[in-house]
Structures are given as structure tokens and as C-alpha cells.
Subunit: 197 residues, 2 copies
Amino acid sequence: MGCWTMEKQVHGKKEAIIGAALKLFTERGFYGTSTAQISREAGVATGTLFNYFSTKEDLINDLYYEVKGNLSQSLREGLGDESSFQAKIKRMWSNLIDWGVSNPQEFLFTEHFCSSPYISKLTRDEVLKEYTFFRDVVREGMEEGQMKEFPQDLIMSILFDSGKTVVRLILNSPGTQDKEQLIENSFQLIWGGLAKE
Amino acid sequence: MGCWTMEKQVHGKKEAIIGAALKLFTERGFYGTSTAQISREAGVATGTLFNYFSTKEDLINDLYYEVKGNLSQSLREGLGDESSFQAKIKRMWSNLIDWGVSNPQEFLFTEHFCSSPYISKLTRDEVLKEYTFFRDVVREGMEEGQMKEFPQDLIMSILFDSGKTVVRLILNSPGTQDKEQLIENSFQLIWGGLAKE
DNA sequence: GGAACAAATGACTGATTAGTCAATCATGGG
DNA sequence: CCCATGATTGACTAATCAGTCATTTGTTCC
């Protein structure tokens, strides 16, 4: 009984609903997924969904906030251990790709919904605050003169988007590729264009 | 009268419907846009839409085919004039970015719908055939030993996706940026990582 | 056992959906 | 002038939607 209560705390209805929404939104889109489908997938009644989220939009905003938070956390993993600028960038590079490959559903969700009109500007701004550390690392490298002189926005966008490109490659490949080798190759490619000398 | 007839041929109902669908799909998504809204935006009756497209999915497949065809055409522009491998790649690079910046609606459509479940595998395969020239150019460069030895898929994906990154940067910037300079910078960045030596 | 409270339920509603089709319209030939 | 043909129309339908709420179920105290 106590065991059941704990189980419920770990895999509660709210988490089940968020998980079902994540799966169905990525598979069928926001408007393409009905709240009834989400409830069914989560194994709860339709009314239960609206006990936890007052509207369907609330649900996707919560989901967005949670997924982006996870990504932000993963990106920072082990970042403090690295001293050189290149090592920091490479660590974030690997972290991004590892996260995407280990969490394909979350990755595809960010791909499809980051620039979607369903997510409120408020939530978006809230999430952006979590990523200032990335901007800081890049600015640090620029000030130290570690990179050729490109606009900061260009550097950040290329770094992030190229990482996502590699995740997509791995997810779409039939698994025959050597993941570590691809991460190494792709980092060399981008770093080679970025680094001074 | 004859004039009217010609006008109708140039801006016929079908084109109006496709244009309206392009606008609304990018703004509100596939399921988020009703056929009634598309008809209203196109200035036709709801029934007229179904004279030209038997289902809503037919409409988005047609749209996808048309937009991707335009992009493919634009990518090839002036490609025959270039002799060196670097010049060919740079030409396609500029072509991609120019196309995206001049056709933001079409660009955003490809961003949101290229990997969406609404578009049939048949249409997708049909479109892929239009892009073999890109694969051929890259393979040629690889065989000539113009690039460091990376997997072909990685090279192609990075080239294409980084181009899209630059388009996004330009579209999101408040217009203050120097477009030509950004194209030059970004090409240097990618080419610098790609080229041998 | 049972009172008190919260969590969960699912039948229900008014609004909206993709798609239909009988009626209307415009055009061009005889 | 009128009829034939094909394009266009919009009221209509069955299905589905997000969200509600009166009721039932589960838990915790005494």
C-alpha cells in the first residue's frame, strides 16, 4: 500500500499526461492530437487532464518548459570540469548530441514546437533565461580571441543547429553508423571553421 | 473580358487556394487551419477547394511538391557558370540563403512541414529526385579530394542545415544586419571547416 | 464504522471540423 | 436568343473537438 503510494508519486497522473502529450504531439502535432487521445494514452479520464492543466495550451507550455529545462541541465553536465575554451565547447557539443540521441521524443518535440505559435511568449522568455550560460561561454571565448571574428549570434546558432543536425543524422540512420566517430568528425568540422589559426 | 480571362489564368482559383494554404499552414499549422479558413482567405467557396484538391492532405502534398520544386530550381541557378568546386558550393550556399530570405513563407513552410506526418512518403520520394544534383556536386568534390574526409551525409546535412541557420538569423534579426557580409562570414565558417588544408 | 475531504471520473454540451451535393452561375456555340 | 457544359457556390451533415460538472471513488483521520 505504501509501495503503491510511492509508485503514484513517481509515476503520477500528471507525469503520465505529460508523457502521453509528448508522444502524441511529436507524432501528430498540437491540433492533430485531441485531449481525449492524450487522456486515453495516459490511462486517465478526460476530466483528469483538466484537473492538472486548465487548458490544452497550458499543457504544451508546461511540456515545453520541462523539456527545455532538461536539455539545459544536460548541456551543463561536466562543464565545470573543463578548463580550456575548446574543451568547454566540445563538452556541450557532446552533451547536446547525447541528449538528443537518448531522448529522441524530447528532441523531436523541440524541433517541431520551439518556433510554434502554441507556446506563449512568456514561457519562451522564461526558458531563455536558462540558456544564458551558453551565451556566456561563447562570449568568454570571443574575448579571449580563441575564434575567428564572426558575429556572436552566428557562432551560437551554427554551434547549436549543427549539433541538432548530427542528432538528426544519427536518429535517421539505420544504426549502422559509429556514433562516437560521427560526434568527433562533426566537431572537427565545425571547430575547424571556428577556431583561430 | 479577354483581359479578365488571362488574369484568371495567371491568378486562378487553384493558385489562390495554394497561396492561402501556404500562408495559413505556416501561421497556424496543418490541423490548426480549417478548410473553411483557407477558402475564405483565398476568396472562394468551401466547395471550390474540394474541386481542385480531393482532400486536405492532397492540398498540403501539392503545396510541398511545389515549394520544394521552387527551392530546387533556385539552388541550381547559375550553377553551370561555376567551374571550381568551391565556387559551386558557394553559389548554392548563396542561392539557398537568397531563396529563404526572398520567400520567407515558403522557407518557414519547409522548416515546419518537411518532416511532418501529413506529407505522404510518395510525395517525399518524388521530391527527393529533384535534389540528386546536390548529391552529385558534393560527391564530385569528395572524389577530387577537395575536402577533409568526412562522411558524405554529414557534409550534405551540415551544408544544407547551416544555410538554413543563416536564413533564420536574417529573418529573425531586426533588419540591421548586413546580409551580404553575413553570407560571406557564414560561408567562410563552414568552408573553413570543410576544405582540405 | 463512518465522517470529511480530495482525486478521479465520463457522460455531456455547444462549437467547429472535413467533406458533400443540389442548385446557381458564366461562357461560348449555334 | 437559348441551350449545353463546366465551374462555382454555400447550406448542410456526421463526426469530432475542448472543456464542464455532478457524481463516484479512494484516503485519512477519529
